[in-house]
């Protein structure tokens, strides 16, 4: 098991190295001198320009800058922010670091809690009116873009009814709408998947056997049928989590949440490339981490994977 994890972590290194090189190269290929932007209206102050250039290491050749940047990553500082002059990127990121994953986890939890029971229920009531109604809802949940849902919910619940805050971060109430907006399409997608997987399993022989031997419907559905949908569901949940993480960029911008997603957008618009680079790297790490978790989850739920590992 440990060897498996280590192997997976080792396989991340080339991915990260490529991500690092590409972002570094892309950023340095862009036109514009960050020091001039930092100086703004004091752009003719040569003394301050030289001081900033030295502080940011921008007076060194590109390969030397890359090596220095690697050192900065290793030390966890990620270099200095262009926008927040003199401040290490790590300080800019620190407070927002947990927010995007937290939002994604909360949304995934909500999506699972709503989507799976809904999917199972639709499968049991296949082709009846409950199923049709659910499918209609799912299509709506999947196809209305989340910024439209967000705008509608903010208008209805916050501006008109004043039931929930419009935006911001720090209280429970402020988290409800963003999590909901993230969870709606994810929940709809999960419900549709669950329904499909369940229908497939419910048609199989061992279910008929279970029913024939007199097991109650609850046991048949949850212990026998549902358990067999867990593996494909886990794979999908990993993919969905990745999607949720990238959707936080939109949701954090709309609800003004100081997470990595909003920071990514802000830093790109402000041309704060060191911060943008760090966010990209962290997102790569998050995705890789999720994939690792999903793989580990297979080990737990599927004996076949466990046995196959020794080979």
């Amino acid at each position: 098991m440990l060897a498996f994890i280590l192997r997976r972590i080792a396989s991340l290194i080339p991915v990260l190295a490529v991500a690092l090189l590409v972002t570094f190269a892309a950023i340095h290929a862009l036109p514009g001198d960050p020091v001039q932007v930092m100086l703004s209206d004091h752009s003719a102050d040569k003394e301050m320009a030289a001081r900033l250039r030295a502080e940011y290491g921008l007076d060194r050749p590109l390969p030397a800058q890359f090596v220095a940047y690697l050192g900065e990553i290793a030390s966890g500082r990620f270099g200095l922010s262009f926008r927040y002059v003199h401040q290490p990127v790590a300080d800019v990121l620190r407070d927002g670091l947990a927010i995007s994953p937290l939002l994604a986890v909360a949304a995934l939890a909500m999506a699972l809690l709503i989507g799976i029971p809904a999917g199972v229920y639709a499968a049991i009531r296949r082709n009846r009116w409950q199923d049709t109604l659910l499918i209609l809802l799912l299509v709506a949940g999947l196809s209305i873009p989340n910024f439209a849902v967000a705008t509608f919910l903010v208008y209805a619940l916050s501006v008109k009814l004043a039931a929930l805050p419009v935006a911001g971060w720090g209280t429970w109430r402020q988290a409800i709408l963003p999590v909901l907006v993230l969870a709606i399409p994810a929940g709809a997608y999960l419900a549709r998947l669950t329904r499909t997987f369940m229908l497939e399993v419910l048609g199989q022989d061992f279910i008929r056997t279970a029913r024939a031997k007199g097991l109650g419907p609850r046991l048949v559905i949850w212990r026998h049928a549902f358990r067999n949908t867990l593996l494909p569901l886990a794979t999908s949940a990993g993919v969905i989590f990745g999607g949720l993480l990238s959707h936080t960029v939109v949701v954090e911008t709309i609800f003004n949440i100081p997470g990595l997603g909003r920071l990514a957008i802000d830093s790109i618009f402000a041309r704060d490339y060191p911060v943008a680079m760090a966010v990209v790297l962290l997102f790569v790490l998050f995705y890789a981490g999720i994939n690792l978790l999903v793989d580990l989850f297979y080990l737990v739920i599927d004996p076949r994977v466990r046995e196959g590992m020794g080979a």
Binding site: H42, A162, I254, R262
Partner: protein
């Protein structure tokens, strides 16, 4: 069982959510576009931090709502008998947020911190260059700044290498010299070291910067409990928060201004003032020979329909600029005539200059940054239609463009200069004095330079302003400065909030705000 647990959990979450308190006491809540880049007056170098810190820190003087410079931490000052410089008499009885008294030692300390070798002195440092011994101290060659002498607790002499009559109004915020000893080098994360009406409570990155009222403020304790600067990068989000009562005042960002001006709901809350940013059409005579002829420069000015731009391009969120100094700035010339739009006269002038219908004019680029693309297109089109001038639009990346302008390498460009300190010299000296690096069109007039030289050693405001007016007339009459419309600062204020507004220089100070 599973469902029961889920139901219970969901129920508990909902109860928790609804039980949270909604409104809090008298806190003035206003949006800012991003986190401040720093929270100390030494490294201060950008606009968000400036907006926050001017409620926390104070200088010798402060700008009033009607654009005058009034004494703040200095009660009065007089020229030094020994040479260029000032003796400042400081306000007695002023206490820092720490409770320590403010005095001459803190003025000296702040200036040394700004110039300390290897330190990161921000914009404040750029105003100290004329102090005797500033350079030696900055280079590490002297242990103190020679020109700064403490006379007694509340009197300090500052000597200059050359007279600098604007020194008392430069935005330099004084800080508590005892703060580092008390709280350590990272004191700014824990407390504020100023004398202002509000003191630092907390900075939640990406969320808000919160200030508490300073009950011992020398100008009288604020009538509200505190101020919250909510960090809201998106203009539409800020408006929704204002609609929902989560903001008491919204600073409307450029992208949302049209929406606000068109919506009748906002009309009664609306505040609209011209920004203190002088916008002009730069014409470099060294790079494009026809610009040497004043008739060509005047023709360019006459071809631009500024009123149409204000209506069409800016949706009425802009103002006419008549001269080189923005409205409300101390030292502006009152009653300058607005620049005219007269295509027929423009054509005639160009013909007189030897370029009938633009014939014989070499091709030229009108250049600026992405943000001014619409304006560029308008100017190029207008100059082609009215004058037959062969103008093409060129959009340049911002930093490259600024470097080019500073080097005097851009021939034809619309650009703006934002005020640095509240005196007309912020434009007349920085933008148009012949040797200023920010004289980007490289306009040059000996008589003008002489008037500015004279003004900058004239401490008396009305005499100095008279010199400014003469100089500005030369500049405008020569079509050196061809003014263009200036955009508006737009804000919305809830009806229950009083004594706070937008001024050309940003927000008014928050010390007298009342919330009903």
């Amino acid at each position: 069982m599973k469902f029961a647990t889920i139901r219970m959990l969901a129920g508990a979450m909902l109860m928790l959510a609804l039980a949270m308190p909604i409104a809090n006491a008298k806190i003035f809540r206003v949006n800012v576009v991003g986190d401040p880049a720093q929270m100390d007056p030494i490294t201060l170098s950008e606009i968000v931090a400036g907006r926050i810190l001017r409620n926390v820190y104070e200088g010798f003087t402060a700008t009033t709502e009607d654009g005058r410079n009034a004494p703040a931490l200095a009660l009065s000052w007089e020229p030094l008998a020994t040479g260029p410089g000032f003796r400042f008499h400081l306000r007695p009885g002023v206490k820092f947020h720490s409770g320590r008294p403010f005095g001459a030692k803190d003025v000296k300390y702040t200036m040394e911190e700004l110039l300390r070798p290897g330190a990161k002195g921000g914009l404040g440092a750029s105003h100290l260059g004329s102090i005797t011994g500033a350079k030696a101290f900055k280079d590490g060659a002297a242990p103190t700044i020679e020109g700064i002498k403490i006379v007694d607790d509340l009197t300090i002499d500052i000597a200059f290498t050359k007279q600098d009559v604007l020194f008392p109004i430069y935005p330099i915020f004084f800080m508590d010299s005892g703060i580092v000893a008390e709280l350590g080098a990272d004191w700014m994360a824990k407390a504020s070291a100023g004398t202002g009406p509000y003191k630092f409570r907390q900075w939640r990155r990406g969320v808000s910067v919160d200030l508490d009222a300073n009950p011992t403020y020398w100008g009288g304790a604020p009538k509200i409990e505190g101020v919250s600067f909510l960090i809201v990068p998106n203009g539409d989000t800020a408006l929704s928060q204002y609609d929902a009562g989560e903001l008491d005042f919204v600073d409307v960002y450029a992208g949302s201004i049209r929406r606000v001006l068109r919506d009748d709901r906002y009309a009664k809350d609306l505040i609209r003032v011209p920004r203190a940013q002088a916008v002009y059409m730069g014409m470099n005579q060294n790079l494009y020979a026809p610009f040497k002829d004043i008739k060509v420069r005047e023709a360019v000015s006459l071809s631009i329909d500024r009123q149409a731009m204000i209506r069409g391009l800016y949706g009425n969120a802009a103002f006419m600029l008549n001269g080189a100094v923005t409205p409300g700035m101390p030292g502006e010339t009152i009653g300058l005539p607005a620049p005219k739009f007269d295509p027929a006269r423009a054509k005639a002038l160009l013909a007189e200059a030897g370029f009938p219908d633009g014939k014989g004019l070499p091709p030229i680029d009108i250049a600026s940054t992405e943000a001014s693309k619409d304006e560029l297109t308008y100017y190029a089109d207008q100059l082609k239609r009215v004058l037959g001038m062969p103008v093409s639009v060129k959009v340049v990346e911002r930093a490259t463009f600024i470097r080019g302008m500073n080097a005097g390498e851009v021939a034809f460009f619309p650009w703006g200069w934002t005020m640095d300190y509240p005196d007309a010299a912020t434009y007349l000296q920085d933008m148009w004095y012949s040797t200023s690096p920010y004289n980007r069109p490289r306009w040059k007039n000996i008589e003008y330079d002489a008037l500015i030289d004279a003004a900058l050693i004239t401490a008396d405001d009305s005499k100095r302003f008279a010199l400014y007016h003469k100089a500005e007339k030369i500049l405008v009459d020569d079509f050196g400065m061809v003014p263009l419309p200036i955009t508006a600062s737009v804000g919305l204020r809830k009806p229950n909030v009083r004594n706070v507004t937008l001024t050309p220089f940003g927000f008014s100070t928050f010390d007298r705000i009342e919330i009903d």
